[in-house]
């Protein structure tokens, strides 16, 4: 009896924890759907009634919205496409071969994720400036690649490592070539891991702020995280529009994150990904 009431007590605390954690997100989304007078009210309206899409209309009509969506997608997709390939090659090398310098490479991959971008943005800016590549998506793409690569190598190493070598060897005994065994046995098994890692790279690049903020100065070249600042002017902030914009920016990331969270979480304590 006593044990049951303790359990019920924990459950109540648990539900409270859930409510406190989730409330900010609820508040963002519900504000996005509220009409202006419910937003600018001294007494908060807990549920938007009537629901309105006005804020979303405002948000997507802010100059450069579609432009910045395209920029974000261009940057992120290019980065992910190239770096997943490079990372996969390196991951295979680390997981399948013993070679001199392997440990040094692993240490480098782990350590390099710890270097704060905020510190590196100064030399990045100066170096790109001296070759006239500031304010170009190319510089951002190159930079983001280096940001996602170490993490991708690390996660993929785990996926490749978990596929028993015996499978490959059995295929080779049956007459497959080394490359054939790899393509027919390892690749299909590691494919879900590749997808999950690619999606996580997508999220990281999509969320990045400081590099894009420093490098991309003209509004036609900015990405969505930078675009969010356009709701704040000297006259104040358009909260409804900002919350709608924030919801739109967060949406693809949240959906993707929910898809791959389970597969990636294991590698996370050993990689440095912050949401």
């Amino acid at each position: 009896m006593r044990r049951r009431s303790i359990r019920a007590g924990y459950d109540v605390i648990g539900v409270l924890v859930f409510a406190v954690m989730m409330f900010p997100i609820y508040w963002m989304v519900s504000t996005a759907f509220k009409p202006g007078r419910e937003i600018l009210s001294l007494n908060p309206y807990w549920v938007p009634a009537p629901l309105t899409l006005d804020n979303f209309k405002t948000a997507i009509n802010v100059p450069f919205f579609w432009n910045d969506v395209v920029n974000s997608l261009t940057v992120v997709c290019t980065v992910v496409a190239i770096s997943i390939l490079l990372a996969f090659l390196a991951a295979v090398a680390v997981a399948r071969f013993g070679f001199r310098g392997r440990s040094a490479f692993i240490v480098m991959v782990i350590a390099v994720q710890m270097v704060p971008l905020n510190a590196l943005v100064i030399p990045i800016y100066l170096l790109l400036d001296s070759v006239g590549q500031v304010d170009s998506l190319l510089g951002v793409i190159a930079y983001y690649m280096a940001v996602v690569l170490p993490f991708m190598i690390w996660t993929l190493r785990g996926f490749v490592h978990n596929i028993p070598v015996d499978l490959e060897e059995a295929a080779m005994v049956d007459g497959a070539s080394r490359v054939g065994a790899f393509m027919r046995i390892v690749f299909p098994l590691v494919a879900p891991g590749l997808v999950a890692t690619a999606i996580f790279g997508f999220i990281q690049a999509w969320n990045e702020y400081i590099i894009a903020y420093v490098l991309l100065s003209s509004s036609s070249k900015q990405t969505l995280t930078i675009w969010l600042a356009s709701f704040t002017t000297q006259h104040g902030t358009d909260w409804g529009g900002l919350m709608a914009g924030a919801t739109l920016t967060a949406l693809p990331v949240v959906v993707f994150f929910l898809l791959v969270q389970r597969q990636i979480t294991g590698g996370l304590t050993a990689g440095a990904v912050k949401g």
């Binding site: 648990g14 900010p24 963002m28 905020n118 704040t232 990904v273 949401g275």
Partner: protein, 321 residues
């Protein structure tokens, strides 16, 4: 496990020893290097080179004039002398250290509590908490800062309304950012809220590694709950705790976005933490040499935490094989 190349080499039938097998040997030895080369080149070129240049820029006078000429003037350690004698740097360093300590302690403490709580609730509530954590974790940092900005808005913010309503004082039209201590409280709320999911989920996963029979045995022997926690649970959690501690330290010490975006890209001097100070010196005052020196100091301080993290991770990898 790792020496797949060697295994397949012994399995392969030995034919004739000659030019062909010598070529194969080269291919086999060279293959791993060829595989890591592209990634290594990108990382070295785009991360390594700037890192070297950061140190180099910190030894140069690099202002607007030098920016146009793309050429700084070497001045030795003078930038370091300048920042060390700057009272703003002292304030910044102290603020950043205190901020880091408070944030790391708070997020670790709360995350541990939540992880422990998740073990004690019913299945439904556990799934509920897990879903909440994942949602918060998934929320990108810039939209998250914007939403907290809105919640703490001085005029229509829901937090001011709530605090007034529950009788914590009169918070109507209360500006949280006039007083830096209150401002940093808001920043702490945002950082801790964002950090908890990853920490709690990682800790909860580690908690499942604690052997149940060991806990029961300790309980039967009359150990109190906190004794069980200190003597059975913590030793199992130690490697995870160490990794999470060093990661949190690295992240919180380098905090930038939360300050910069929250204060609409114009933080007052009171809000200068290391990365903001470095950014301000470089991109607002155009003293790139000074900014680089601050950044170098910041990285130097983080080396210890990084070392702990790398050592622990490499150890875990070696144990796993």
């Amino acid at each position: 496990m790792r020496a797949a190349g060697q295994i397949s080499a012994t399995l392969a039938p030995r034919k004739r020893i000659g030019a062909a097998s010598f070529r194969r040997l080269i291919v086999r030895k060279g293959l791993p290097y060829a595989l890591i080369a592209p990634a290594l080149l990108v990382i070295a070129g785009v991360l390594g080179w700037p890192l070297v240049m950061l140190v180099s820029f910190s030894l140069q006078h690099y202002g607007l004039r030098q920016l146009f000429q793309h050429q700084g003037t070497f001045i030795g350690l003078q930038n370091y002398a300048t920042i060390l004698s700057d009272p703003q740097f002292g304030y910044t360093l102290r603020t950043t250290i205190v901020f880091t300590l408070v944030n790391v302690a708070l997020s670790m403490f709360l995350a541990t509590l939540i992880a422990l709580l998740m073990e004690r609730v019913s299945r439904f509530v556990r799934v509920l908490i897990g879903a909440g954590l994942v949602f918060v974790w998934a929320t990108p940092v810039i939209p998250a800062i914007n939403l907290w900005q809105w919640m703490f808005d001085y005029e229509f913010g829901v937090i001011n309304w709530l605090l007034t309503r529950i009788g914590a004082g009169n918070y109507i039209h209360h500006n949280w950012f006039e007083n830096p201590l209150q401002g940093f409280t808001v920043i702490t709320v945002i950082v801790v809220w964002g950090a908890i999911p990853f920490l709690a989920i990682a800790l909860n996963a580690a908690l499942t590694q604690v052997p149940k029979d060991l806990v029961e045995a300790a309980e039967i022997d009359g150990a109190k709950p906190w004794q069980v926690f200190a003597n059975v649970t913590v030793p199992v959690l130690r490697p995870t705790l160490l990794v999470l501690l060093s990661l949190s330290t690295i992240w919180d010490f380098g905090v930038f976005n939360q300050v910069w975006v929250l204060l609409n890209q114009r933080p007052s001097k009171d809000y200068f933490v290391m990365s903001v100070f470095s950014f301000q010196e470089s991109f607002r005052v155009s003293q790139y040499g000074l900014g680089s020196a601050v950044a170098v100091v910041m990285i130097a301080i983080l080396v210890l935490a990084t070392f702990l993290y790398v050592r622990q991770t490499v150890r875990a990898v070696n144990e796993a094989g």
